[in-house]
């Protein structure tokens, strides 16, 4: 009955999520394991939301899952250049849903959504999508971008657009 290896629960859950997200993919989001032989590394493509400076861009991110997923959250990192208050220079996404309660590197507001097994890859990606539309300047990961977003929105939008064009090779 327990012929399960370490990570078997995680693997089962990741397969279920993969089936779900493939069948009912939310608009603007694609996500899948990079290889069938490793369900613990996913790649996600996120389309920049309309009416934001990110519109027109398609952003690639890597999701790395721990062996005790979904008890612990994955790490999410954009592999394309991103200029955003809540994304570190190395691409790592800093958003409350990727942190369990008690793990509080950025002093998120107490009401902000946290990681727990009731969350999912889809919910993470939807949160990231809304983060692109509405940065949270209280938990800045890119201080320069946070400051620019607060003080000079035009300049911020211009930098974002330039970054997108650059990464698309335009």
């Amino acid at each position: 009955m327990y012929s399960k290896g370490i990570g078997a629960t995680a693997l089962k859950r990741l397969m279920t999520e993969y089936r779900e997200i493939t069948v009912h993919a939310p608009e603007g989001i694609t996500a899948a394991p990079i290889s069938e032989s490793n369900f613990f590394e996913w790649e996600a493509l996120i389309e920049g939301p309309a009416d934001t400076p990110y519109e027109g861009g398609v952003f690639v991110a890597l999701l790395t899952f721990p062996k005790d997923y979904p008890l612990s959250p994955p790490v999410m990192k954009f592999t394309c250049p991103m200029y955003h208050p809540n994304i570190y220079q190395d691409g790592t996404v800093c958003i409350s849903i990727l942190h369990a309660p008690g793990d509080d590197p950025n002093m998120y507001e107490s009401s902000s959504e946290r990681w727990s097994p009731v969350q999912s890859i889809e919910k993470i990606l939807l949160s990231v999508l809304s983060m692109l539309a509405e940065p949270n300047d209280e938990s800045g990961a890119n201080i320069d971008a946070s400051k620019m977003w607060r003080t000079d929105r035009k300049q911020f939008d211009a930098i974002v657009r330039r970054t997108i064009q650059h990464s698309l090779g335009l």
Partner: protein, 303 residues
């Protein structure tokens, strides 16, 4: 036998997912490749800090190593030991500590106490068939609670599966096997997670009754996601209330507060329905609970 029992049918699920995997992963991969061929970004500002940067994988590996180290030092649920072990910890403490008069053993845990105590009670009870039947019913009905509270099946089915499989196998188990299950992270955590989700569902469905105990401005949903649904968070009193009501069990918690009382203070948590087993007795520790074994329960042949 029970119409309410969910049918997770995991084998077909897995196969379907694998097929889907074959169908679509190539698309994403090739799109990704196209992206990757775009000009590389200017390297991030050359190291303002000189700290070596760890990759995500290294961070995950290190975190796992820390967890493993902790797990090796203290199992999730330990062997039962005599009360003198607890006394040693309190040698210089309050002399009025008298738990050993009424309890003859204890068992340390790292946060799985209530779930283990529940399973162990059913395993060791003399009237096992009846108790086991009742426990199965309770466990199956807990899924309805989760559904009523609006949980998606994906969020609970894997945890429930481990719980119900363990419970179904209980009549053929010896105590060492149960302990082994609770010392295996993945199985133990799944069972504990199911109990937590059940507590969360109960609180959400009874929000009107329990909302007055929340901090100002906090909703029950906030409370549950911050304290109940996440592993490793201390089970506060509200969670014990929820579990005793949802599982129809009574729980007594001993608080060894040194200043306010001569006697050890037992706080009872009672279900609405008549109880079908003597109370599970827990010892409050900062951050978790240990299990206590009451002498009177042993005399009755009930552990």
């Amino acid at each position: 036998m029970n119409a309410n029992q969910p049918q997770p049918s995991t084998n077909t699920t897995t196969d379907a997912a694998a097929t889907v995997a074959t169908a679509t992963s190539t698309t994403v991969a090739s799109q990704a490749q196209a992206q990757a061929q775009a000009p590389a970004p200017a390297p991030a500002a050359p190291a303002a800090s000189t700290q070596p940067e760890l990759t995500d994988e290294q961070i995950l590996t290190q975190m796992q190593a820390i967890k493993d180290e902790e797990a090796n030092a203290h199992p999730l649920v330990d062997e039962a030991i005599g009360m003198e072990e607890l006394l040693k910890e309190y040698e210089n403490g309050n002399p009025s500590f008298n738990l050993e008069d009424t309890h003859d053993r204890m068992r340390r845990s790292r946060g799985d106490a209530l779930a283990f105590a529940w399973f162990e009670r059913i395993l060791l009870a003399p009237a096992k068939p009846e108790l086991h039947q009742k426990a199965l019913e309770t466990m199956r009905e807990s899924v309805n609670l989760l559904i009523s509270a609006g949980f998606e099946s994906m969020a609970y089915e894997d945890f429930y599966q481990v719980c119900i499989e363990t419970l179904e196998a209980l009549p053929t188990m010896v105590p060492e096997q149960l302990l082994k299950i609770f010392q295996t992270d993945e199985l133990s955590n799944s069972i504990v997670m199911h109990f937590r989700l059940v507590a969360s569902a109960y609180l959400k469905l009874h929000e009107a009754e329990y909302a007055p105990f929340l901090d100002f401005g906090q909703t029950m949903s906030d409370y549950c996601s911050m304290h109940v649904e996440a592993m490793g968070r201390e089970s506060e009193e509200m969670m014990l209330i929820a579990m005793s009501k949802a599982l129809h069990i009574s729980v007594e918690v001993a608080y060894l507060s040194a200043n306010d009382s001569e006697e050890v203070n037992f706080l009872p948590f009672l279900p609405d329905n008549p109880v079908y087993m003597p109370p599970l007795v827990l010892l409050y520790r900062p951050g978790h609970y240990d299990i206590l074994y009451r002498k009177s329960h042993c005399l009755d042949g009930v552990v």
